[in-house]
Structures are given as structure tokens and as C-alpha cells.
Symmetry: C2
Subunit: 243 residues, 2 copies
Amino acid sequence: MAHRTIRKYKDTIVEEELIQKILKAGCRASTTGNMQLYSIIITCEEAGKKALAPCHFNQPMVINAPLVLTFCADFNRFNKWCIRSKAEPGYDNFLSFVTAAIDALLVAQNVTIAAESEGLGVCYLGTTTYLTAKIIDILKLPRGVVPITTLTIGWPDEQPEQVDRLQLDAVIHRETYHDYTDEQIVNAYREKENRTDSRQFVAENRKGSLAQVFTDVRYKKDDNVAFSNMLLAVLKDQGFMNQ
Amino acid sequence: MAHRTIRKYKDTIVEEELIQKILKAGCRASTTGNMQLYSIIITCEEAGKKALAPCHFNQPMVINAPLVLTFCADFNRFNKWCIRSKAEPGYDNFLSFVTAAIDALLVAQNVTIAAESEGLGVCYLGTTTYLTAKIIDILKLPRGVVPITTLTIGWPDEQPEQVDRLQLDAVIHRETYHDYTDEQIVNAYREKENRTDSRQFVAENRKGSLAQVFTDVRYKKDDNVAFSNMLLAVLKDQGFMNQ
């Protein structure tokens, strides 16, 4: 309940023992058929962080966080085990990518909770699925491995306000999905639109509505289309589109 | 650290207040640009559970759990808000599906942790991405909404042994991915292969290795290919493949 994204970190490392502790807890997350279809790439060194930063649009957390974790959907290890065991892996398809991505994401959120329970702060980098090919290149990910999310982790050097959330009723549905009426949409987003920071956001960007800040500035159609095609090409290159 | 999947539940409901509490905690999870691109469908009624059961290969948890939660990637609500706000949503593409699926999965794991901290037990249903079109039909999910995982939740009526995990070193990589040598693969999976339950599994299925139980019995290429094509068709039908 106390979660807030932490983007500013103290200039203190995260001790190796603690890294191990939060990763071990993370890896207790449920995984499909107990196959553990993920790998976690730990970036601690300056050079690695500097190389990754442009993949994340140079957001300063990548350089400033003592610890950067890239969570990858990984069928490479499992496939290698199959081949060594005279078993023929049939995991070079889209479902297998989705399965491995689910495994990796549940671990990421489990690591988040473990880190936060130790007083650490984290920030998710949604940019991981944008310039994915570049991340693959930097982290030397082989066929069968695709990065799906990234966490920057460190000791908090800020205590930001918690961001708003929609009322629970706006995101849950009972028994079946009850599609939203115009009135329900207006009600669901009213509080968010009326926030001072939202209004500032609209004014700064000279837009007519908060939604326009999302569609015209933050998450634009042209970018989404370009990144979609890049991501689908990555899935093909990494061996997940043979169906 | 104490997580184990719970498949048997006591015949006791989960009180509405507690459902709200764990869902509220779940929804504190990080979400892309605070867009909350997910919906959670609550199934409590017998009829709903009976309808969903075949989509999950009639695993008994679906009927026996007092609470079934289907987590969906959802751009429908956000798109409707955009349109009402004279903003043109550009979220009918593959990247947007992945973004919303990430949001939904982080919430699912957060709900899991919240539920487990209250003493509840959960089981993930990986089958959610198999017969997705049928789930969409049963739950009446509109365009822009795709189910990505399911949790069955209830009061534990079993305390199973914790399942094994690979050693942490087998799933982490430092600075770059260090691809596995044959020896590293053998070492990584030796403990798993030598377990009594693994050996039983191999014997029962009359296979030559544990990996063959996965490739030939549990997660077969033909099934994966069929489900991949079905899932890609669902993404197209639900409006996520216009790039």
C-alpha cells in the first residue's frame, strides 16, 4: 500500500548479500510448470549503465541507481537443457514468448516487493520494450532471450507523494465485463483530471485535455507503431515467431 | 520466501471486505505512465466458475476456489476516455498490448502477495493464454481487452512442500549474458533431475529424461503452435495488431 516509485537514490551501493536476498525471494514467484523461463541481468558497473542509458531515453535513474536489473523472457537455458536431454524443444513460437514474459514479470514484481520490504526504492522502466534490439546487443542476449522490463534499485533519496489511482470500482468487473457508459468514464477520470499536477501538465503542454497529453505527447501513435514493428522483428530474430 | 501454490481450499468464502483490501493493495503496483491498463474480472458465482472451468482444462481449482480473478490487459477504458476527451488514441498495436499485459501482470503478482500476507493461498492458471477467445466470450470482454492470467484464491486446505528452484546463479547474469556451457546446463538441472518426484514423473510417463516429460507430454510443440496462432488471432480480433 505504501508503494511509490523512487527515481532519486543515495550514493550508497546495495550490498551483494542484500542483492542475493531480494533476488532469491523474487525467484520464489510462481512460474509456468516450474520451468523458470527468465533470466535477470545485473548491471552494477558504470560502463554497463552508460551503455544502457540511451536505450531508456537517458532517464537519469539508469546511471544514478546503484543497481539496474533487466528481466528477460528466457527459453534459451531451457532449450539447451532439452537438447542435452535428448528432448526436442517446441518453444520457438509466440505462446512460448508470452509464457516466458509472464514468468519474468511475476519475478520482477516479486523482486520489487522484496526490495521495498528492505527499505530500497525501485523504478520500472517501461522503455525496455521500445529499443529492445539495442538492449539485446548491449547485454549480449542470445536467441531465445528477450528483455521485457527493467528495474532501477537503490536507497531512496526522496519521498515523493503517492500518485493517484482510479477508484477500485473503475478497474474491477463482477462476473462479466460491464462496458463503460460515457458517464462512468467521466466519473472514473474526474478526480485525475482535476488534480493540480494534471492541470499543470495540460497547461505546460498547451493541450486541451489530459488525455491529449497522453495521445499527442507521451505515448504517440507513430512511436507505438514504430516500436510495435521493432518488437515483432525482435521476437522473430530471437526465434519466437515460428508458428 | 514462503510461497507455495495452493490448489485445495477450505469451503469458506473470502469476505468482500478482504477482496477489496487485496485488490486495492494490488492496484498500488507500478503501471505504465499511471495509465492502469488493466481490468480484473471477479468470478464468485457457481455459474461463472463452471463456464470458465473448461477454458482451464477443468482444473478443479476453478470450481473449488471461492474466488477466481481474471487479469486482463485493457486499453478499452483508456481509449474511451481519450475519445471523450477529444484525444485520438493510437493504442491499437502490438506494443500497446504488451504494455497493458505488463501492467496487468504486475498487479496480479501484487494481489498474490497481498492475498498471501492475509493467509490466503493462490494458484496461477497459465492456461489463460491458451483458450483466450473462449474466455473473452464468457467474460464478455470488448475490443481492447485480452485476458493474460488468472488467479484462484481461497483459504488453504493443504500445506504442500515448497517446489524446487534452480540455484540463483543459474538464472542471473552479471553485466552481460554469459551463455551456458554444456557443463553449466548439467549442473543447473542436476538437482531437479535427481529429485524423487522428478524420477517418478519420468517413470510414470515412460520417458527417457525429465526434459522429455516437458517436450512430449506437458508442453508440446503442436499445442504451442496451435495456441500461438489462436492467441495472435485474438490480438488481431481485439484490435491490437494494426501496425
